[in-house]
């Protein structure tokens, strides 16, 4: 579909009073649910909710319709665990808020372990990164933080300009491995020691002997242990096994993030019902925690029955949109295509506990939808149109504006006079 056609559609739609209603006809609907893919299907959206899916749906009077001409329609995609809205320019400290880096005090580590730290309070939905991600077909992201062993909490954001996490939920983070040796006396063994100490302190503090956590921190950690899923950044197989033991000992739920060597523990992860968030293009031993990296990580985990979601481990914030390519490359290396799509839609939504709000194209779900020029997991395709809660969202960003400014024919005035 050409840019101009989409633009005309948008103009027409912008004046529609019922902005959360639309009938999308004749799409190849990738539901990311047990329904799989439906050919030549229509999707009816009313009040921002998917009301019907099927062939030749009746067109309620006055309903805006769009003929998809057989193009693929997917749920809005997961932009990975990112710092969208928390980081404008990576190397400009004044524009970066995602990690808490308090100094370690003389007496110990009380300053660094702040499970009560809530990074969503720094979220700025006016960031230009949101629109860039939307142009790439991304509709939700998990705000990440990993500055410390107990790094605090993030939330899942719909990339529609809203300020609050979806369903008000928070996810607690833990970070294990080589990157955190500076916070654990130069040995990762102490990382597990400190985590156990923190868990014990949160569950049953000994009066007068609270060493690691603040009162608020104990409350936050207690609540997390009781009702939330920890997102644990960890890569090395041996560390993953320790994390599984820790989770079992304290009865906490975990998902793994990074998980370069998770394929070596695939059966145990499946048995313990532990989902993973991985970068499926990781093929190099980028460090000694990632010696076993392989392009087949996703396929091997999925075959074992592990829920696989994707992240972009390199520049997952500015280039969150690369997650489609990552899913496609996982498919290219043995993952079934439907599992590839699930890895950027339903699987992360479920692992993050927001699957009631975002995940799939099913009746009753929020209409976060993307129409594609072709296979959404192929870099040869781009997003052609997007709806967030049924509202058509222009695929315009600062980047497309720059493009159009410099593509416009010269008119005798400097480019600064172009729109």
């Amino acid at each position: 579909m050409s840019r101009s056609l989409i633009f005309i559609g948008l103009v027409a739609f912008a004046f529609n009073a019922q902005a959360q209603n639309v009938l999308i006809k004749n799409a190849t609907v990738h539901t990311a649910s047990s329904q799989g893919t439906l050919d030549k299907a229509d999707v009816l959206v009313q009040g921002g909710i998917i009301r019907a899916i099927g062939r030749n749906l009746a067109n309620p009077s006055g309903m805006k319709t769009l003929d998809a001409q057989g193009k693929p329609l997917t749920p809005g995609l997961f932009a990975g665990i990112s710092h969208i809205g928390l980081e404008e320019i990576s190397q400009e400290d004044s524009s970066v808020d995602y990690d808490l880096n308090l100094e370690t005090g003389d007496s110990g580590l009380i300053e660094t372990l702040r499970p009560e730290f809530d990074v969503t309070r720094a979220y700025n939905p006016r960031s230009v990164l949101l629109a860039v991600a939307r142009v790439g077909g991304m509709s939700f992201t998990a705000l990440g933080t990993d500055g410390a062993l107990l790094a605090g909490q993030g939330g899942v954001m719909r990339l529609d300009g809203g300020y609050e996490p979806i369903a008000g939920k928070r996810m607690p983070y833990i970070s294990i491995g080589a990157g955190k040796l500076g916070q654990s006396g130069s040995t990762r063994a102490a990382q597990f020691m400190l985590l156990e100490q923190a868990f014990n302190e949160a569950k049953a503090p000994t009066p007068g002997d609270e060493r690691l956590l603040t009162g608020q921190g104990r409350n936050a950690l207690n609540q997390a242990m009781a009702s939330q899923r920890f997102l644990v950044s960890v890569n090395r197989e041996a560390d993953i096994r320790q994390v599984l033991k820790l989770a079992q000992k304290y009865g906490i739920r975990v998902a793994l993030v990074g998980a370069s060597e998770a394929w070596r523990v695939a059966d145990q992860l499946a048995a313990a019902n532990v989902p993973v968030f991985i970068d499926a293009m990781e093929a190099l031993p980028s460090g000694f925690d990632q010696i076993g990296s392989t392009l087949e990580n996703a396929a091997r985990l999925q075959r074992a029955g592990v829920s696989v979601s994707f992240i972009n481990g390199n520049d997952g914030t500015h280039n969150a949109r690369k997650i489609r390519q990552i899913a496609g490359n996982a498919v290219s290396n043995g993952l079934p295509w439907e599992a590839g799509l699930a890895g950027i839609t339903s699987a992360p939504a479920k692992a993050l506990g927001v699957d009631a709000q975002v995940r799939s194209i099913e009746v009753g779900k929020s209409a976060d939808l993307v129409l594609w020029t072709g296979d959404p997991l192929d870099v040869a395709s781009t997003a052609a149109a997007m709806w967030l809660q049924g509202k058509e969202t222009p695929l315009v960003s600062r980047q497309t504006q720059l493009r159009d400014r410099y593509l416009a024919p010269a008119n005798g005035l400097p480019r600064a006079y172009q729109p």
């Binding site: 050409s2 840019r3 101009s4 404008e88 320019i89 990576s90 190397q91 400009e92 990164l129 060597e261 394929w263 293009m281 990781e282 093929a283 190099l284 031993p285 980028s286 460090g287 000694f288 990632q290 010696i291 076993g292 990296s293 392989t294 087949e296 990580n297 390199n314 520049d315 914030t317 500015h318 280039n319 949109r321 690369k322 489609r324 390519q325 496609g328 490359n329 498919v331 290219s332 020029t373 296979d375 997991l377 192929d378 870099v379 040869a380 395709s381 781009t382 980047q399 497309t400 720059l402 493009r403 159009d404 410099y406 593509l407 480019r415």
Partner: protein, 458 residues
């Protein structure tokens, strides 16, 4: 060509001397080029790839065509080719064939995997001008990244120093063959390059180490270095042109490199993001009389696409990186497509990444898709030139490789289908006619010593 080989050529032309001149002291012999390539093509049998979709790297697409490689060279490309009796026949039906991919911007070997302190050899961040260092002296041939890049169809690559310095040192061009020394990878008869860097990196690294701490300080730094080298160049040129008699001037490694730039012997690669800074660097090149081969990264290159084409400067770019620094804030996904548009435009897809180099074809595919969104149609046969012909041109190895033309090195990739897809895979990779990667044959997949006994692959 480096200074010493030029000197040899000059001597060959001028050293037939009249009889009376022979009474003068004999001229000092020209020294052989130091750290010379010891690369030897791996022996191969003739190979005929039949009935494939062939992208030649010169902008041409041939359907149902054959490619014949013999004696390490492209013998012929066309339909219904015959082959010598001992040729190996490859059924290319459904396959696509392209020249080997060339990455003009890699740090493999100098920032090797695993990325630890011990392998951090890419930035000699001790002074803002370190023209004396040669990246090849940091290259660790055991970097596992070389083999991964080969699996992505990369047959040649330029290894550059990092961008901490105004002048970071010399680059080296390698053939992507497994070896125990870099000399055995070194692309024979390729010129050296130099790496220079604009903008934020040098001023950040040296801002509190004696400067430069500003962009104006950066410019002053380049100018001072070239002014210094001009006098050095004059002294050496006089010595070489005078038959190398008497005492040679003192050798200075840094000024050797800078004088090599001024003579045009060393290819100039400049890390530069912003349009205004690229314009300043073009003026620098005019002030000192050298040609810039390519700007690297250039996220704002689209703003000066016409100027780059006019100045015959290539732009080696990412498909979609942006925002990690303010000077990268204006990145757009159509940058490469816009640089490519003017007549004479020379767009290159580069990696600067151990991950990106494994799938430069997919980076190009993203550009094609983004361009289509802006109603700019780009054909596969054209897009492949960003990874092959244009890259070879920028490195000045285009007479040797970068296209499927008779007599060129047989650096060839057989893909499972179109290269411009998430699902594209290089199935066979030939370097100088030798099959050095075969996806279907574990015995033809190199593995670095480092990975023995601990690899993640099955």
């Amino acid at each position: 060509m480096n200074r010493l080989t030029i000197a040899a050529a000059v001597c060959a032309a001028l050293c037939v001397l009249p009889a009376h001149a022979r009474k003068k002291p004999d001229p000092a012999p020209a020294k052989p080029a130091p750290y010379a390539s010891t690369y030897q093509a791996i022996p191969s049998v003739p190979v005929l790839i039949q009935n494939a979709t062939v992208l030649t790297g010169t902008g041409v697409r041939l359907d149902n065509a054959d490619v014949l490689m013999q004696d390490g060279k492209i013998q012929s490309v066309g339909k219904g080719l015959g082959a010598p009796a001992n040729a190996r026949i490859v059924n290319g039906a459904g396959k696509w064939v392209t020249p080997g991919i060339i990455d003009v911007h890699s740090h493999l070997g100098v920032y090797a995997s695993p990325g630890i302190q011990a392998t951090s050899d890419g930035n000699e961040a001790t002074a803002p001008v370190t023209a004396e260092v040669w990246a090849e002296h940091s290259v660790w041939p055991q970097d596992t990244g070389f083999a991964k890049a080969l699996a992505g169809g990369v047959t040649s690559l330029q290894i550059l120093p990092g961008s901490a310095n105004l002048v970071g040192g010399r680059s080296v061009i390698l053939k992507n063959v497994a070896a125990t020394s870099y000399q055995a990878m070194k692309f024979p008869n390729a010129p050296h390059g130099v790496k220079m860097a604009c903008g934020e990196n040098p001023k950040r690294v040296y801002g509190e180490k004696g400067g430069p701490s500003t962009r104006m300080g950066n410019m002053a730094g380049y100018r001072a270095a070239f002014i210094d080298a001009q006098d050095y160049r004059r002294k050496w040129d006089a010595y070489e042109n005078g038959g190398r008699r008497g005492a040679a001037p003192d050798q200075d490694l840094s000024k050797d490199t800078l004088a090599g730039i001024l003579r045009g012997d060393i290819t100039v690669n400049i890390h530069c993001y912003r349009a205004d800074e690229m314009a300043a660097m073009i003026d620098l090149s005019k002030e000192f009389g050298f040609q810039i081969s390519s700007f690297h990264h250039g996220v704002e290159a689209y703003k000066i696409a016409d100027s780059l084409a006019r100045e015959n400067i290539c732009a080696a770019l990412w498909a979609d990186w942006w925002g990690f620094k303010l000077e990268a804030y204006d990145g757009i996904e159509e940058n490469i497509a816009l640089v490519d548009r003017p007549t004479g435009g020379c767009a290159i897809v580069h990696s600067d990444s151990a991950e990106g180099i494994q799938r430069l074809n997919q980076e190009a595919a993203k550009v094609i898709a983004s361009a289509a969104r802006a109603d700019i149609a780009i054909s596969p046969e054209h897009a492949i030139t960003w990874l092959t012909g244009n890259a070879a041109k920028a490195l000045r190895i285009d007479k040797l490789t970068g296209s499927l033309e008779t007599g060129k090195m047989a650096d060839v990739v057989v893909w499972n289908g179109t290269p411009f897809s998430s699902y594209a895979k290089a199935e066979q990779v030939y370097i100088d006619g030798a099959l050095l990667y075969d996806r279907s044959n574990k015995a033809l997949q190199p593995k670095a010593d480092f990975l023995l006994g601990q690899e993640g692959q099955p």
